[in-house]
């Protein structure tokens, strides 16, 4: 039964998110959240806060066979050659792709190194709005690519930061131009760690006057190992 007292209601939501409501009580709370947007918003806030507790755990690598099994169970493991063995369009595509590959291999001495880390930078509090994408190649070079168009006042600069070790504080990776990709060499990035923080802040023209960000965070994200 859903209590009438607001404090008791809030407590019930906290218990539900924590997984302490079972059986019929759990079903009743879920029906309540479906019809009461305020209650649903409270549940959402609790869930978002609990994400922090999950991220305290050291990441563990998932065995490759688990991904294979997930692909099999979702019907995504069928080899491409079985899907269209006799298909003319398929073979035309394959031939064209091979031709392009041969050309690229002939003209380019070495292809780009595979990506080892990626980061999606999002506006603070806007989890569903990616603004920039970072990829770090096996060589350690970092590429920063805009996903949205953004403009700022001319007396402001956008500065790129990283935080690998909180004890050492943030490190500037330089100013960037909104809307333009940039590649930063490994020598300036250093070794990237899983979970390493990257962010873009809005600073006075020419960059932060201090050795740390002074302006608002525009986009922020953490490195995920691929």
């Amino acid at each position: 039964m859903i209590p009438d007292d607001p404090h008791d209601q809030q407590l019930l939501i906290a218990e539900y998110v924590l997984g302490l409501c079972r059986g019929e009580q759990n079903d009743e709370v879920e029906r309540w959240l479906e019809r009461d947007p305020d209650a649903a918003a409270m549940a959402r806030q609790w869930r978002e806060h609990w994400v922090a507790a999950v991220e305290l755990l050291d990441p563990e690598r998932v065995p490759a066979r688990i991904w294979r099994e997930i692909r099999r169970r979702t019907g995504n493991d069928e080899p491409w050659w079985r899907r269209g063995w006799g298909s003319a369009p398929l073979w035309r595509s394959v031939s064209a792709a091979l031709a392009v590959t041969v050309l690229v291999l002939a003209l380019v001495p070495a292809g780009p190194a595979p990506v080892t880390y990626t980061v999606v930078l999002q506006a603070p509090g806007e989890a569903a709005k990616p603004g920039w994408r970072i990829t770090v190649s096996a060589d350690g070079d970092l590429n920063l690519t805009p996903l949205v168009e953004s403009r700022y006042q001319p007396d402001r600069s956008v500065q790129f930061w990283t935080l690998a070790d909180p004890a050492q504080g943030p490190r500037s990776l330089g100013l960037i131009q909104p809307g333009h990709s940039i590649t930063i060499p490994a020598s300036r990035i250093g070794d990237v760690q899983p979970g390493q923080l990257f962010e873009l802040t809005l600073e006075p023209r020419g960059g932060s006057p201090a050795s740390r960000p002074t302006g608002p965070v525009l986009f922020i994200g953490r490195a995920v190992e691929i």
Partner: protein, 148 residues
């Protein structure tokens, strides 16, 4: 997610099974994810926890890994505190750290191990009523601390 699954199940095979089930569920029920209702990460974690809690009803006697309870990191000042999302994250860690141990432990047992009130009371050898009081008092303090 795998680390959480291992904590919740205390067993490698069950963790793998739960992880598989969760990603299959994501694939088949992706239409149920609504960005306005929260982040994808929170959705994924809640799917995984719900799946494992339901597995708990079917199995008993797991060995659980220790809780990250004894040495909570001090979030400390850092540039990400400028960010709303990051300050939310740090706030939760700080608020958990401030909780008394006898309130924090059962809350974390529920979160990381997916245990019910009865299971927590049994494991801590504390009366059920006492555990309910401690958890509810702890959740109230967390709520105040998080300003929810």
């Amino acid at each position: 997610m795998f680390a959480l699954a291992r904590r919740l199940t205390g067993e490698h095979g069950l963790a793998e099974e739960a992880l598989q089930d969760t990603f299959v569920q994501v694939w088949t029920q992706s239409h149920r994810f609504k960005p306005q209702r929260g982040s994808a990460r929170a959705w994924l974690y809640s799917l995984l926890r719900n799946r494992i809690i339901s597995l708990h009803r079917q199995a008993h006697g797991h060995r659980f890994e220790p809780l990250p309870d004894q040495d909570w990191p001090d979030p400390g000042p850092s540039p990400e505190q400028c960010s709303y999302a990051e300050s939310q994250r740090l706030a939760m860690i700080e608020c958990l750290r401030r909780l008394q141990g006898d309130r924090r432990s059962p809350i974390l047992m529920a979160f990381y191990h997916g245990l019910s009130y009865e299971q927590i009371a049994d494991r801590l050898a504390v009366p059920l009523g006492t555990i309910k009081s401690r958890i509810r008092a702890g959740l109230s303090r967390l709520q105040e601390c998080l300003r929810l």
